[in-house]
């Protein structure tokens, strides 16, 4: 549905986005991650046709954004950063205006506005002027604007920014539901959001894509990925530590806590041998007749990956 090819944007001599290529299919929710100023918003602005790229192509539902901008824009719903709204209109008249701009007039327009108001829980503020709304309502009004014409493609720049935890949860659910039949791109700083709503994530840093994969694949890149946390008792801590350290798959052992009964620690595997490690540990415990309190493989943490990827490659 969305194809981005070698997209590059220069602002003066500075490259904001450099040679970015990716694809999003129907049914995919793509999370766009990256530190501030990494080029997330610029990329989204180019995909939605707001700013022209310096070079590269954007294809939306098979339409070239540069050649047929009006046709292409019709397929997209866009929530810009900071949820801008016309301040001197009411929620209702703002949404009616957007409906008309989207070519939904009369009964169709009313239906679309009603549906968007219901979906985004705006019923209570419908007749209220936009500049008297709280931040959460402003955000949801802008979200309503983006989904009003039931677009095939949704692009959202920080859709949960400024919402309270309940609203965040609600919006994530909404994104996930809509993602089943649309192609969605959204940017965020909140990593748990990626795990909660995305089928795939891209990490962008200094204008280039530095990682692209499912949240699971990304997590596997963390240093801690594949480590096994264990807690064994009935054998002296020092002995446990030494012997576990000698197991074939174990690169090193971190001690979390120890006492007279035993040891709680983290066994880090050699790369790619995480799967063996659990088995080895278990066999060792049986052999030593140690009491097993815990043997649990650890998933990598996304924030660790994020930090590792976005800080290590800065020159």
């Amino acid at each position: 549905m969305i194809q981005v090819k070698n997209l590059t944007k220069h602002f003066g001599p500075k490259a904001a986005v450099q040679d970015v290529s990716f694809e999003v299919k129907r049914g995919e929710v793509l999370g766009f991650l990256g530190p501030n100023g990494a080029g997330k918003s610029t990329t989204m602005r180019m995909i939605t046709g707001y700013i022209p790229p310096t070079s590269g192509e954007v294809w939306v539902a098979g339409l070239d954004m540069l050649e047929k901008p009006i046709e292409a824009k019709r397929r997209i719903g866009y929530l810009p950063e900071n949820a801008p709204l016309y301040s001197d209109l009411t929620v209702e008249s703002f949404l009616s205006f957007i409906a008309e701009m989207r070519g939904l007039r009369g009964a169709d327009g009313k239906k679309a506005v009603n549906h968007a108001v219901d979906t985004c829980f705006l019923g209570t503020v419908r007749q209220q002027s936009v500049d008297t709304l709280s931040k959460g309502f402003r955000h949801r009004t802008c979200l309503a604007q983006a989904i009003l014409h039931d677009p095939e493609i949704l692009i959202m720049d920080e859709p949960t920014d400024g919402l309270d935890p309940n609203q965040k949860h609600e919006v994530r659910g909404l994104i996930k539901r809509m993602g089943e039949e649309k192609a969605i791109i959204f940017s965020t700083h909140i990593l748990e959001e990626v795990e909660a709503a995305c089928t795939r994530a891209i990490i962008i840093s200094n204008g280039s894509i530095v990682a692209n994969g499912t949240p699971e694949e990304l997590k596997a890149k963390a240093d801690g990925a594949g480590a096994v946390r264990f807690s064994l008792e009935g054998v002296a801590a020092a002995q446990l530590r030494e012997e576990i350290g000698k197991l074939a798959a174990v690169r090193s052992v971190q001690v979390l806590s120890q006492n007279a009964q035993g040891l709680r620690g983290l066994a880090l595997p050699y790369p790619g041998r995480g799967a063996e490690l659990g088995n080895e540990l278990f066999r060792y415990a049986v052999e030593r007749k140690a009491v097993v309190r815990e043997i649990s493989p650890q998933e990598g943490r996304l924030d660790e990956v994020f930090r590792k990827i976005t800080t290590s490659d800065t020159p």
């Binding site: 602005r45 939605t48 046709g49 707001y50 700013i51 022209p52 009006i70 046709e71 824009k73 019709r74 997209i76 866009y78 810009p80 950063e81 900071n82 801008p84 709204l85 016309y86 301040s87 001197d88 209109l89 008249s93 205006f97 957007i98 008309e100 701009m101 989207r102 070519g103 002027s129 802008c142 604007q145």
Partner: protein
């Protein structure tokens, strides 16, 4: 979706914005007070003893519109940029020129309303004497053309900046230049250097006065329409270069 319905949609929304805020009312009332006040106090509608509005009433319009058109138009594009709504507007399935024309027309409607509401002075003059209604109608047309070309100037200026105040001040300055270019004392002064007439050709007063006298010359109408057209086109150029 035709260009026409897009423009109408934007025009309607802009009008709603204007009338949801006090701006439109305030400006219309100020225009009415000033236009009629100047005519009666300084223009000498009665003292002239003639059934005409050209010298007493329309005479002041360039100076009034010099301030009021920028006040009306300063928000056109600077507000869009300040609020960030330009990003919404220009990612809708419409061409940028639909938005530019729609917004310009909405502000023009307000100038039209303001002028239309000065009808009591026309009634007064008709009651007191036998004016040439054709000339008065021409005066209104001239005034409308002048006001809207000042609006177009303001539209172009407001595309440059996020600040309404800056847009206002610069637009007033540009309008003042356009007036002074045809202002008799300035023209006389410049004539000493032999290019007074050349500069006057670009002055709005030259063309406005001809039209307001009831001399409907195509050249003068064309002047205002081309200033308007050029400024709206220039608005598009500025907005495009801002996004590039």
């Amino acid at each position: 979706m035709s260009a026409f319905s897009n423009i109408v949609t934007i025009l309607k929304k802009e009008l709603r914005s204007y009338f949801n805020s006090p701006l439109a009312y305030v400006l219309i009332v100020i225009f009415l007070l000033a236009a009629q006040g100047f005519a009666f106090l300084f223009g000498g509608v009665f003292e002239r003893q003639e059934a005409s509005l050209t010298e007493s009433f329309f005479f002041w319009h360039p100076w009034l519109f010099m301030v009021l058109a920028p006040a009306l138009g300063m928000r056109l594009w600077s507000e869009e940029q300040r609020l960030g709504t330009m990003e919404l507007l220009l990612t809708m399935p419409v061409a940028p020129w639909h938005a530019i024309v729609g917004k310009f027309l909405a502000a023009s409607v307000i100038i039209f309303l303001a002028l239309a509401l000065t009808f009591p002075i026309w009634m007064t003059i008709s009651y007191l004497g036998k004016p040439d209604h054709g000339v008065i109608f021409a005066g209104y047309c001239a005034s409308f053309l002048l006001g809207t070309s000042f609006l177009a100037v303001t539209s172009a200026v407001s595309a440059f900046t996020r600040s309404q105040v800056v847009a206002f001040v610069i637009a007033v300055a540009v309008c003042l230049l356009l007036i002074l270019a045809g202002f008799p004392p300035v023209v006389q002064f410049l004539n000493e250097f032999r290019f007074g007439e050349m500069v006057a050709a670009f002055g709005v007063l030259t063309h406005f006065n001809e039209l307001a006298k009831g001399i409907l010359v195509l050249r003068d109408v064309f002047f205002f329409l081309s200033v308007t057209g050029f400024c709206l086109y220039f608005t598009a150029v500025v907005l495009k270069s801002k996004r590039a």
